[in-house]
Symmetry: C2
């Protein structure tokens, strides 16, 4: 097997690109795909401050490494989810990556900072763990980005992730999620209580209530981000989250793998075909159809209700006796879980 | 396992309905689903003449049996496709069904009547066999319905078929096919050469060029139509078409089965959710976007070109030395095959 570019020994074959690459040209391929994603979808402007959401897995570490290599001004943020050894090892991988490169990594720990963890939240709310996990991460990362003045949040969602989420949204025809499933979510302005550094609380007008969020890995498959990490010597946590086992997202990946195995490139065509020919058809019929936003009475974050979903989750889960991972059966409550767009 | 209705011994469990049925209540269930499909989508009016497209498989024979049981005025039509033993056995099953019930079954044979067969057409055109097969069936059934003055054509597409076709169209975002994937295709009027019985050719105006086509089995899974035939003592051809082996349609079924196995009802939600919340979004932006129709110079059928696709196929394939099934590798030319709506 020879590298399609230099004819040297290849280390990876990419069937959907009908190409093989040596290590150097594969790394260049990954970088090119990220550059292309950023350019085509106007994700990040030069000079902008980027907050990278870092889990410690292959995708987020590859993302951070790639953005650094491209010269972007990045800092990382990682959230301790309290999912037993898995979370401990994840945080460790993220911290090790940052320390070795002398990077700034902001750390939040659900148990330390908000007195709950994901297994406990899942048990208390009787919903799928992925539900409270996604909600917690979105809220805390959005808040950190706004409070820290970052221009944009970058997440490590890859092509497999996005195609699987799209399949889930299509199988249920969640039209409201379909309208938001894009590689870039624009920032949104609106009223927001400013309750941060100085302790006072005021009502800003026209300020950002959601930061711009971008997915620069959307042109790379998960097999490719894994290979990238291996070739770059990046230690990442290999295990999948034990609480996600058997969840719908993994099933949708499995279904798409049936198709991809016989038709390499099917996932790419599915996702990018959606963006090109279908996404606009699901745009909300009227602006503001998502509901009027107002500041959460508790934390000031934008919400359509009185108290935001995160504060309601904290209300339910904080201060409860911690529930060990083992007691929260994977997939429990899965029937009530829904696929989400633009996490 | 007890029947959900009468508590007698059940013969089948329907996970997606969370129900078990004895033979009688299962047959009633099938009939009710067909009644509901016909009613909800205004498929057939009382008194209309129905032409049933009969392959000899479980779906089309169950369909004919169900429509007879509901008192519809039906005749059948079957097409000898020339796919070796498979076609011979299919026709035999269709003929046996009709003879035993003293029903009218119209027969067309591609080789006898048009001097080609599907394996030969596939080899000559170098396209997937399913492509020339679908084209031939659509053309001949439409023509027979118009010439015979039938009000409507009924086909045996079941829920698994429709969901798999929908998945294929969604994976490729074939927006034009998505706009037509409905359980009812309305009849269309337009100019048409009338070149039938009296040998003269005239140009009709405002006459039907496409008959209404309906899929009354769209609420039944293929496992259910098979069980229906078994319980009704209907002999059908069990084999799948040998030329379809490995084709995309079967792969899409496999992918959906991954999802359905874990979430019974997923296919139903996918297909009917599409009809309810998405189909209208794919309607052509302007009427007539499908292209101006005019009569085929050869046969008078509606076409957007000079000569219709069927006549072009016959031009290519007729009179060629027959190619045996075995020489046409299944899936050959599959890369150029496309999923079709409203076949």
């Amino acid at each position: 097997m020879k590298c399609t570019v230099c004819r040297g020994p290849a280390v990876i074959d990419l069937r959907r690109h009908n190409a093989n690459f040596c290590a150097d040209h594969f790394l260049r391929f990954c970088r090119d795909q990220v550059v292309r994603a950023i350019d085509e979808h106007s994700m990040i402007e030069p000079g902008e401050r980027v907050l990278v959401a870092v889990s410690g897995g292959k995708d987020s570490l590859a993302l951070w490494d790639l953005l650094l290599g491209l010269g972007y001004d990045t800092e990382g943020m990682t959230i301790g989810l309290g999912i037993g050894d898995y979370s401990a090892a994840s945080t460790e991988a993220a911290v090790a990556f940052a320390e070795r490169r002398d990077l700034t990594l902001h750390r939040v720990d659900l148990r330390r900072d908000h007195d709950y963890d994901i297994p406990t939240a899942s048990a208390v709310t009787r919903r799928a763990p992925c539900s409270s996990c996604g909600l917690s991460k979105r809220h805390l990362i959005d808040k950190a980005a706004l409070d820290g003045g970052y221009d944009v949040v970058a997440t490590g969602h890859n092509l497999d992730d996005e195609a699987a989420v799209l399949l889930g949204n299509v199988l249920h025809w969640h039209t409201e999620y379909l309208s938001r499933q894009r590689p870039v979510l624009a920032e949104r302005a609106g009223p927001r209580h400013d309750a941060r550094s100085d302790g006072r609380s005021g009502r800003g007008s026209g300020s950002r209530v959601f930061p711009r969020k971008v997915k620069p890995l959307v042109r790379l498959a998960e097999r490719e981000t894994a290979a990238y990490c291996v070739l770059r010597g990046i230690d990442y946590i290999v295990e999948e989250c034990p609480m996600a086992e058997g969840n719908r997202h993994l099933r949708y990946k499995e279904a798409l793998n049936v198709v991809e195995a016989a038709s390499p490139g099917a996932k790419h065509a599915f996702y990018f075909g959606f963006l090109a020919r279908a996404a606009a058809r699901f745009a909300p019929e009227v602006d503001g159809a998502e509901g009027e936003l107002r500041p959460c009475a508790r934390c000031g974050s934008p919400t359509t209700g009185e108290v935001c979903a995160f504060c309601r989750l904290v209300d339910q889960a904080a201060g409860q006796d911690p529930v060990p991972v083992e007691l929260v059966r994977p997939g429990r409550g899965g029937r009530r879980a829904r696929t989400k767009a633009g996490s």
